[in-house]
Symmetry: C2
């Protein structure tokens, strides 16, 4: 019994354990993709490249220092798909499932772990929630794989190739991984609106957040039996922000490139290019064109969108949509002279407002620092670096093509950003955070002059 | 009487009146510098150039679309020096002085105006304060002008030229205006450590904030008669931040350019180059070298320093040192799990913490938006644009040389940034702010997931 007590007394916070789990996942993934069987014959790479690929896969970012198509064997592709699945749906979700399969009861400590990973702040039906997430996800991915597999028979010579491509594309899109085994993302489907539409739907499904999906499911269930269902404030804010960013993103991309990339394109070409390149910044990271063709302003708009990222409790990264929305609402309320932040006939908790600002500030410092360091260590134009940093922190995976040419310092910075982006700034802060202290003493308050 | 009542009922807030005063100052300045007598013969410029120069002078930024040395006559130089004085010490300070000279009592409304301009949050001795500020400032400037004037006899052929240069240099440095009539900032003094030291002292004097200067004065007075004097929390925070930024800035500038600009330079050359180019980003805007020679990382560090800017209630702009410091302290406290922000044995008011984050967020949105717009309207490398935007918002006036070549859109964006940078984000928000509402109704609180 002594040993168990000692183990308990280590008192790792749940966030620290999550981080540890991610670390283990990265290590295992690095070993798996480093197996000779995972690579095509004759392909060599460094340990740093393997770690980079593993972090990129576990965090479902999709930035790559090596071409996935040229490097991985068919077995390697399946291993990669498994890692994406694992990283995308969340290590904890899968962990729960494994516990359930083993018939073990989920204890308080494990439940706490899951809650932190998916940011759910209520205990109710947690195990059930995890099951639902996994079932829903696998269902959508299978449907996506079948539709794309059948459709890809037009594109690829053999049915094996078509279904392998369809399977990987579906998993990569639903988990918002942004990896591709076509060798050129979705550029070959630039004029295939069917493939793009399927991809947009899968991308939105992964990035909109699990709580939203589950509430939509509950809404449908309630609706069937004639009951009313109130969506949570969280779902309302995150969904509105998600689609607003999507539309504004597409408009800005079109506006800033109307006399450049969109010159001479038909309205439907322009619509799909702008829409897809906006959707993909939420978290997808797939692209139907070479983003380095865009103008600098568009690239900056995309960087900003990637920095904001996806919904909380989704497969995505960045500061998250709610964080951005709440900061905006707070600024608006403040400027209007209001003492509380009101939205959708609810009031926000001041602590959530403070949290949002802390998350944004730390994220800006982190990304700003990374840009300065990379400007020093790399030899690329500034916008290439900003774009790469935003993409890594948003775990988006779009790139203007500099990833394979990064120096070792550059690769390590990007690895750190992908990691922090995926676990979230909030968890990142928790790593260094001890127990919340009870403020045993107080000092007098004193006001200072601001701004 | 009816008319007076109607006038009162317009109910402009004091910040809106301040903004109005600045607008009037800009208009009058534009007219003054547009007078034919202010220009050298044969020099032509557009109205936009005149407005740009007027805003740059009133906000003591120092960005110029025309060369001050080539454009202004001797009378023009004196007009410009007067505008810098007026803008630097604050329209309200000078306004108070005029009121006093006219023998009028200062009423509550006027006092409120002054308080907002200088951000003082106590009523005591306000008129006295203004007098002290003005006296102190003029004294320092006269001393600076005499020292530099005498010293410049070594540099300029006639004593008139030497003292005109000395006078303008002293006013430009003390008001942190960053204008020069040498035609090349302080580059000709790159190896003259005496001129640089005098300039550094004048720059710090202007940028460190009036409350700090007055408290130092009070400290000395108390010390003489053997009493103890407690510096305010504000003075402690802003002074520490000011000098920390100064030192860290110099170190980072040296570090990122040690194999570029500083290559082959002696230790004292390196020290003065790094130190001066760090001090000048607080708000000075003078330079002893062409900043476009620096590496990209150094330019970004400088941009960041300019964005942070000077102390509140100083001649400077940006988000202000206290804002930056309080956000950092809050993040640190938050990460450590503390419920209050403690510093120098005092606790910060949660409202000041929120204010800081609001100011920083709005500033980032404003500058980020400006960078995106300028990337679209101008044809310069991104770092040139970021540098110019940070310089305008920080009312610093450093430039990599693109100011005269800006498009009309570009000039208008920079004008807006200089204006907002000088009045401060907080006042900027107040423009759209009505009266603080008493929250007549409440909604239920609901928590959401952040980050
Ligand atoms: K991704
Ligand atoms: K300046």
């Amino acid at each position: 019994m002594f040993k168990f007590d000692r183990f308990n007394s280590i008192k790792l916070t749940s966030v620290q354990i999550i981080v540890l789990f991610y670390m283990i996942a990265v290590t295992v993934s690095t070993i798996l993709i480093s197996l000779p069987i995972a690579r095509k014959p004759g392909v060599e790479w460094t340990l740093l490249d393997a770690v980079f690929t593993a972090v990129s896969a576990v965090s479902v970012t999709g930035l790559t220092v090596v071409s996935t198509a040229d490097t991985f064997s068919v077995i390697g592709v399946f291993i990669l798909a498994f890692i994406l699945q694992f990283g995308g749906i969340g290590i904890m979700t899968l962990g729960t499932f494994i516990w359930l399969m083993l018939g073990r009861k989920i204890g308080f400590r494990e439940r706490q772990l899951i809650m932190t990973d998916q940011n759910r702040n209520t205990f109710a039906g947690l195990v059930d929630l995890m099951k639902q997430i996994l079932k829903l996800f696998l269902l959508i991915e299978v449907i996506g794989a079948i539709i794309l597999g059948i459709y890809f028979l037009n594109y690829f010579p053999t049915w094996q190739e078509a279904f392998l491509q369809g399977f990987f594309a579906s998993v990569s899109a639903a988990t918002n991984a942004g990896f591709d085994i076509t060798g050129e993302s979705l550029v070959m489907f630039a004029n295939d609106y069917f493939v793009q539409t399927i991809n947009i739907l899968l991308l939105i499904f992964g990035a909109i957040g699990f709580p939203v999906l589950l509430e939509i499911k509950e809404f449908i269930q309630h609706h069937k039996i004639g009951e009313t269902f109130r969506f949570s404030l969280f779902t309302k804010i995150t969904t509105c922000t998600f689609f607003t960013l999507l539309v504004i993103g597409a408009i800005l991309i079109y506006y800033f490139d109307r006399e450049n990339f969109f010159l001479g394109k038909t309205w439907h070409e322009s619509l799909f290019y702008a829409l897809f390149q906006s959707v993909t910044t939420r978290n997808g990271g797939l692209a139907t064109m070479d983003v380095s063709q865009f103008s600098g302003s568009t690239q900056m708009v995309q960087s900003l969108l990637m920095f904001i990222g996806a919904s909380p409790s989704s497969v995505g990264g960045g500061i998250r949509t709610t964080t951005f929305a709440i900061a905006l609402l707070a600024i608006f309320s403040f400027a209007r002279g209001r003492q509380t932040v009101k939205v959708f006939k609810r009031e926000l908790d001041p602590e959530d407002v403070l949290k949002s600002f802390v998350v944004i500030s730390v994220a800006i410092m982190l990304c700003g620092g990374a840009v300065i360091v990379l400007s020093h260590s790399e030899n690329f134009p500034l916008i290439y670096i900003i774009y790469e940093v935003a993409s890594a922190f948003g775990t988006t995976g779009l790139s203007m093509g500099i990833t394979p040419e990064l120096s070792n310092t550059g690769k390590m910075v990007i690895i750190l950003l992908m990691f922090v982006g995926r676990i979230g700034i909030f968890s990142f802060l928790f790593i260094i955070r001890g127990k919340i202290s009870k403020d045993p003493y107080h000092y007098p308050k004193e006001r200072v002059i601001i701004g």
